[in-house]
Each structure stands twice: as structure tokens, then as C-alpha cells.
Symmetry: C2
Subunit: 148 residues, 2 copies
Amino acid sequence: MDQEAFFRKLVDFTAAVHQVKHELTKDLPLGSVTPVQYGILEYIAVHQPVTLSEISDCQHMSMPNTSRELKKLTEKNLCEKSIAAEDQRKQYIRLSPEGQRMMDDIFRRIHSRFEERIRTVPEEGLKAIDRAMDVLRAQLFDTSYAKK
Amino acid sequence: MDQEAFFRKLVDFTAAVHQVKHELTKDLPLGSVTPVQYGILEYIAVHQPVTLSEISDCQHMSMPNTSRELKKLTEKNLCEKSIAAEDQRKQYIRLSPEGQRMMDDIFRRIHSRFEERIRTVPEEGLKAIDRAMDVLRAQLFDTSYAKK
DNA sequence: CTCTTTCCTTATCATTTGATAACAAAAGGG
DNA sequence: CCCTTTTGTTATCAAATGATAAGGAAAGAG
């Protein structure tokens, strides 16, 4: 297999994924939530409860900046902090009821755009996509790779 | 097929792609080039020659901001503008020799990290990955979809 | 030859974001 | 009981980014 072409294909592929993700998530009703803050909310929504350090690691932001943005989100009543019982330094962060409603709504919108996108794909094709994602997750986009 | 689970899987998948892309592209020698500027350079590198409007569309930035950032890149001697012969309003934008060297170097680094990543994958697996990318490109991440 | 549209520019402003220093409190290890 | 590490905070600053107004010059349409 031609290494060069294969690499090029990967570059194209990731660009396409990024592009489609953008189409699925643009113009969402974010209110006063900034892009970085939305990224945090999405991360919390999927992984809650999370700690501040986890957000910091996974969103690639420094602790001070993470703390600041999270404070803003808390002030907007979109998420809540609670001190961990077993380690008083840690905080478990979750969406507030309001934050949960917001993210539920947003995910519904994204989901609906996604369905629009795959509407014409037959059941057979969906299965193929499913398998393809499995293959790539296992071989190429294994995020447990080289976790230092 | 369970719609809900399928959608969730897509969300996970795009997050993983994003994560791996980050790992492959972090800590590159960008010098004085900002993230947004790097995005532009990468786009030019892959698609050159391009016009300002194309960059604006594909990088999702306004024309004024694109113009500003491109001016900075030109001042850094990383890209060049030349007026199109057939339409004097348009500019064809390319990497300068220096910009080309920079991007070649960067792509080499990314490529090398990528090879490190797939080092242990057998030929058979690479072919499977290749096919999987084809499937997803065709069915799911078809960027020609709904071009307004 | 006008009028409109396309493509691009310059200027300006507020906001967001990233980086750093300095600090504090809990946990863990000897 | 120290000492170090982990976890998080506050404050501050500069830079990057996004948004908008205003304009100019070429192309295209009538």
C-alpha cells in the first residue's frame, strides 16, 4: 500500500469529518455561551460527572483558564460543582437542570440534522457505516494509544 | 438499527477523530504562526492555488478577517498573491517557497507520527482501514452534501 | 453606458482566549 | 509531622479572534 497516498487520504478524511461536524453543529442556539464554553458543556454532557482536571486535560486548556470558564458556566446556571466525598480537593461537575435541558435540546437538533443526512441511506448502508466506524475506532482512532 | 445508539456512536467517533488529529498535530514548529493562520496555510497547501473567498468559505471566517490574516501571512513571506489573468478582482494564493518548505516539514512530522501510530498494524489491517474510510467518505462524510 | 454584483481591502472595536505568577488547601509518603 | 504532589483558585496581561462599517475596483447584465 502506498504510504504517501494513504496518509493523504487520512488528511482528507479528517478534514471531511471536521467539515461535516461543523455543518451538524453550526448555528445552534448557544445564547451567551462561547465556543470554548460550549466545548466544555459538551464534554460534561457526555462524561458527567467530571473533574476540573479532566476537562483541562481533554479540552487542552490550562487549569486557570478551565477554572475561569467553568466559573462563568456556573454563574450562568448551566453546571454545578460538588465536592467529592472521598477527596475534598476534587469537585464533581455536572450539568444543572437548566444546562441539561439546553444540551438535550442541542443534541436533539444535531440528531435531527444527522437523520436528515442519512435519510436516503438504506439499512444495509447503515450497517456498513457501523462496521466501518468500528474498524477505524479500533485501528486508527484508538484514543487510548500512547497515553504517556 | 438503534437510531439513538448509532448517533451516539457517531458523536464518539468524531470526538475520537478530533482527539487523534490533535495528537498528530500538537507541538508543531509553528514559529509566529497562530492557530487560525495555520489552518489557512494547511488549506492552501492542500488546495493551492485558492482564492480569498474560498479560504473564507472553507475556514468559516469573514472576508475582512480572512484578508487580514492572509496579509499577515504574506508579510511573513509564507504565501503569495497573484492577480488572476481572466478576472482582475480575483487573486490566486499559493504558498511561497518558504511557506512550502515550512508546510513540507510539518507534513513530514505529522506523517512520521502517523506511521508510528500504524506501525503495528498489519497490511491486512491497513486495507481494512482504507476500505472503511471509503465507506464513510461516500456515505457519511460526503462534503458535497447539501451545498446550499 | 448605468446599475448591480462579486471580490477584496482597510479600519476599528469588543470579546475571547491563552499564558503566567502567586496562592491555598487537601492528600499522600516517608 | 514535615515535605511533596495533586487539585483548584484568583488576578492580570497580551494576543488572537470575530464582528461591523465603509469603500473601491473589476465584471456582468440590461
